[in-house]
């Protein structure tokens, strides 16, 4: 198998901004201590060099196919079609199963590619990363083990407890775990902590897990991650003869959304991003950025849509550690604002019920993050009532690390 080659579309400008042609609003950029500017310049130079380096790209492709197993299937789910009202009413529903990757989520594609670049082009000996659901840290730690690099993981104290399985696997792979007790004790302070650590270790390379952070990270992460969408687009055409009518992905910072959506941006596919409504958006206790009252703000090195409270970054609260982020990546905010991506949301309770439904009716244990999107997709598909449509849902991770909390939920609700 050959991975379809990367074609750059929707490029940011030389300073790392996406500019809305109507409002002239700029998304992205590089807001960081001058200490890190040379490092960011080096990352950008290495990234550009990597894309042009045929030997590097060939080596990376081989590892993505043989170590990550990036050629995961797209499988039709007649069960979900039945739940939505039947194929004759709503069309066909397909699942892109990136939960079947090595390390069980969509994350390893970007993580491995970034680490591979760090090793062979940046020449770093150490990787620093942040993590929420620990899917990113787990895959970075695996890459570091394989590539013989040191790995330092920053994780919020709340997440360290919630997703201890993935955290422990990261540790088994040899990562040094730094537990962050600041602020919300979740993904956002973990990213701030990782950025701070990089300032003390400028020889290391920082590997971001989302399409966020200072330029060039949003562009670099979506480029590496888009391998998933390039393969999916090809697979979908082979199965149905065309691109999907709709694409549904969950959205925290936006890496899993961009991994699938990027290669379809110029196609007719309607793209839906699903955020966590937590306990309900009106309660203020949620993880929704676009639908949760965000405004333009600057955090963690980039400018984008951010949920704030009096100029301070607001707490995001959701069951899903991977969605616990009070902002979206700059390209995601841009694509929303120009009307290319539509947003929907699902509450924690609905996602948890969907988790149990997936276990009981599909025989799949999905990551809790994926349950937000399955729930919202079913609602949207039902509403569309178009039997001619082919829908694609990104099942972006496996739910082993959610099992302890979900079995408790099941027993409490029986």
């Amino acid at each position: 198998m050959k991975i379809p080659p990367f074609k750059e579309i929707n490029s940011p400008n030389k300073n790392g901004y996406w500019i809305n042609p109507k409002t002239k609003e700029a998304y992205g950029g590089q807001y960081i201590s001058p200490l890190l500017i040379p490092n960011l310049q080096k990352v950008e130079k290495c990234f550009k060099k990597a894309l042009k380096d045929k030997k590097f790209m060939k080596g990376l492709e081989e590892k993505l196919l043989t170590f990550i197993g990036v050629n995961t299937p797209i499988l039709r789910s007649k069960e979900l079609e039945e739940i939505a009202g039947g194929q004759k009413k709503v069309g066909k529903i397909y699942l892109k199963r990136t939960d079947l990757h090595h390390d069980s989520s969509h994350k390893p594609v970007n993580s491995f590619s970034s680490c591979y670049m760090a090793k062979h082009i940046f020449k770093a000996k150490k990787i620093i990363c942040e993590t929420g659901a620990s899917m990113h840290s787990r895959s970075v730690a695996a890459a570091c083990a394989m590539l013989k690099m040191d790995c330092e993981v920053h994780i919020g104290a709340v997440d360290a407890e919630k997703v201890s399985l993935n955290k422990d696997i990261s540790e088994l792979y040899g990562a040094k775990i730094v537990v962050v007790h600041e602020s919300t004790k979740s993904l956002l302070p973990a990213m701030a902590s990782a950025l701070r650590s990089w300032q003390s270790n400028p020889d290391a390379m920082y590997v971001v897990g989302s399409v966020a952070g200072p330029s060039p990270y949003p562009r670099m992460v979506r480029t590496w991650a888009s391998v998933i969408g390039r393969i999916a687009k090809q697979q979908f055409k082979q199965i149905t003869g065309k691109v999907p009518s709709t694409l549904f992905c969950v959205c925290g910072g936006g890496s899993n959304l961009m991994s699938m959506a990027y290669p379809l941006l110029k196609d007719k596919t309607e793209i839906f991003a699903v955020e966590s409504a937590g306990e309900g958006i009106p309660t203020g206790r949620h993880g929704a950025t676009i639908l949760g009252g965000s405004q333009m703000g600057i955090l963690l090195g980039f400018k984008s849509k951010v949920v704030m409270k009096s100029a301070q970054i607001a707490e995001s609260l959701t069951e899903a550690s991977g969605l616990d982020f009070a902002a979206v990546g700059p390209e995601v905010a841009y694509l929303h604002d120009i009307g290319r991506i539509k947003f929907r949301s699902t509450t924690d309770m609905a996602a948890k019920k969907t988790f149990l439904m997936c276990c009981e009716k599909l025989g799949i244990v999905p990551a809790i993050e994926a349950c937000y999107v399955i729930n919202a997709a079913l609602k949207e598909i039902k509403k569309r009532k178009n039997p001619k449509e082919n829908h694609l849902i990104h099942l972006c991770g496996s739910g082993e690390s959610n099992v302890a909390r979900m079995i408790k939920f099941k027993r409490e609700n029986e």
């Binding site: 200490l35 703000g297 600057i298």
Partner: protein, 269 residues
């Protein structure tokens, strides 16, 4: 150059001394105590940086992060920090210049134009934005607005920066330039004199702007080492540490006072 900074550097030069610049997080641990701290600091420091707290700061050590969180808990916001500085400046009996040190988000959210205007009406003499990049539209706007009203825009340069970056920074920097002495967080290591020498040389090659050095300056001996090379020594974590450990202690201002008095002994050129 902002008049109050001009006077500060001129006076120090006349006395053959360096200047001491103190940093404290505004409203840490609360408005009232912070006001007392700043008034006390104005008796000993050549200039004062007041931190406008941001809860997602990316360059601060745990000491300053904790101070940020204490201040936010006490209700700190941009409006109140301006009010605090205005009140302190009206009560002190000298022209000690005050700067606001913060991240771009609070300024951007407040509106850059409004922020600059408020600096003028609150008698703020300068602004330092830790995460402001020379290429960002916000940096361009802020630098332009501050220039109009003669409020200093003090920019940071670090040991990892090359001459091209320093030259670019100097174009926007006014009144003085801030050298970050090492690769790391505020107050997490000891001042790196070799780095300071190296960057000072690059600055001096391109400009006569006064140089302040921060990060890792805690003792009289640190101040003394820095003042041999630069015009001002900046002390932050040392002061914030005293505030953090003595926030309910009646002797808090006395402790800060004696700490600063001792540091001042290192100011002789």
């Amino acid at each position: 150059m902002n008049k109050n900074f001009q006077e500060m550097f001129a006076k120090a030069k006349q006395e053959k001394k360096g200047s001491l610049i103190g940093f404290a997080t505004g409203m840490d641990p609360n408005y009232k105590t912070s006001k007392k701290i700043l008034i006390e600091m104005a008796k000993h420091c050549g200039a004062i940086e007041v931190g406008l707290p941001f809860n997602t700061s990316t360059s601060d050590s745990a000491t300053i992060m904790d101070a940020n969180m204490r201040a936010i808990k006490a209700g700190a916001n941009t409006e109140k920090i301006f009010k605090l500085i205005k009140e302190v400046k009206s009560e002190i009996k000298n022209n000690v210049p005050f700067l606001i040190m913060t991240y771009m988000n609070p300024v951007y959210v407040y509106s850059i134009k409004k922020f600059a205007k408020k600096c003028k009406t609150s008698n703020v003499d300068g602004v330092i934005i830790v995460d402001s990049n020379n290429n960002s539209p916000e940096d361009k706007e802020l630098s332009k607005e501050l220039k109009k009203i003669n409020v200093a825009y003090v920019k940071l340069v670090a040991p990892t920066n090359d001459e091209a970056f320093i030259k670019e920074t100097l174009k926007k920097c006014s009144s003085w330039i801030y050298i970050v002495s090492y690769a790391g967080l505020t107050g997490s290591k000891q001042v790196n004199v070799e780095n300071v020498k190296k960057i000072s040389k690059l600055i001096r090659k391109n400009s006569k702007i006064p140089i302040g050095v921060g990060f890792g300056i805690r003792t009289k001996s640190d101040v003394s080492k820095v003042i041999k090379i630069a015009d001002a020594a900046i002390v932050g974590s040392g002061i914030v540490d005293i505030v953090g450990k003595n926030s309910k202690n009646h002797n808090l201002t006395k402790k800060i006072s004696s700490y600063l008095k001792n540091l001042k002994k290192g100011l002789n050129k």
